[in-house]
Symmetry: C2
Subunit: 173 residues, 2 copies
């Protein structure tokens, strides 16, 4: 694997932590109508000091703006980022839970882990896919019914699967 591939992991627009600071503000605005440093800290269950530092950096990056009275809100850029994250989270969670039939907790955890890592391209294509897959199109419904019935029949695969490549006739890496 080329190093320019694996090193892109750190070169993300936002980190996991930042993603959740931003979405916390978004949800607090919905739920309480306001969001202060302490509210974010409580929501994320971290100390006020930690939240204060991270949010200071986010203000410097222009993703969060502060009221005359220490009330926080998302900037235009911040809102755009939160929208893309929540969209990806929703799509991934729906796919994992309603298609792959993973339990809701697992689906939520895994969606939360990857939501900030997927490119806009990937998010968009996945949205197309899941939208069609769960539509009332008879082809989609027939396919899903078939898949789920095979899932039930199938004895559990040993995981990790050593021979995924063989299973797919892949030339390995």
């Amino acid at each position: 694997m080329a190093s320019d591939v694996w090193k892109e992991y750190e070169s993300n627009e936002i980190s996991h932590s930042v993603a959740h600071h931003l979405t916390a503000i978004h949800e607090l605005m919905d739920d309480l109508g306001y969001a202060r440093v302490s509210d974010v800290a409580r929501a994320l269950e971290i100390t006020r000091g930690s939240a204060s530092l991270t949010l200071k950096a986010l203000k410097a990056r222009g993703l969060v703006v502060e009221d005359h009275n220490k009330f926080l809100k998302l900037s235009e850029d911040g809102r755009r980022i939160v929208d893309s994250i929540l969209a990806k989270r929703a799509v991934v969670r729906k796919f994992l839970n309603e298609v792959l039939k993973l339990d809701e907790h697992q689906a939520e955890v895994d969606a939360c882990k990857v939501e900030h890592l997927l490119s806009a391209q990937t998010g968009g294509q996945l949205l197309h896919f899941v939208h069609f897959l769960l539509s009332d199109d008879p082809t989609a419904q027939q396919f899903l019914a078939e898949f789920w019935s095979k899932l039930d029949q199938k004895e559990e695969w040993q995981w990790p699967v050593q021979d995924v490549d063989q299973l797919f006739n892949l030339e390995s890496r």
Copy 2:
């Protein structure tokens, strides 16, 4: 979102960095027949000092074992982890590239980002899904053909999509 969900991000078995140190050893064994600290550093394009420290920790964790002459290899646990990572990477890459039709580079990058984050459950179910989806089952083939034709017709969605929830009739979060 409950904090016990988003905080699980850090509580992973292995980090992105560790995943690639381990897979580097695996691939070096395949390609060269051996793997030393310097070889890993070269493969990952990091300094020998950094690799030395990370690999020391991995030896302490019992994932890597060292030869009488500084030659590294994976332990049984290390091999098990590498197998699961490579399997997830292969499945995700295949899904993104061959189903969602993302270009190979994008598929590789995104697969690399999430490979170490997906649970074994998720990896297993995704493997089932992709395996059936790309099989010669006529239902699967018909569904894919239908999906791809819709992809072509479809004008690109605006991304981020603000109304994913509405699109899916989700109650939001």
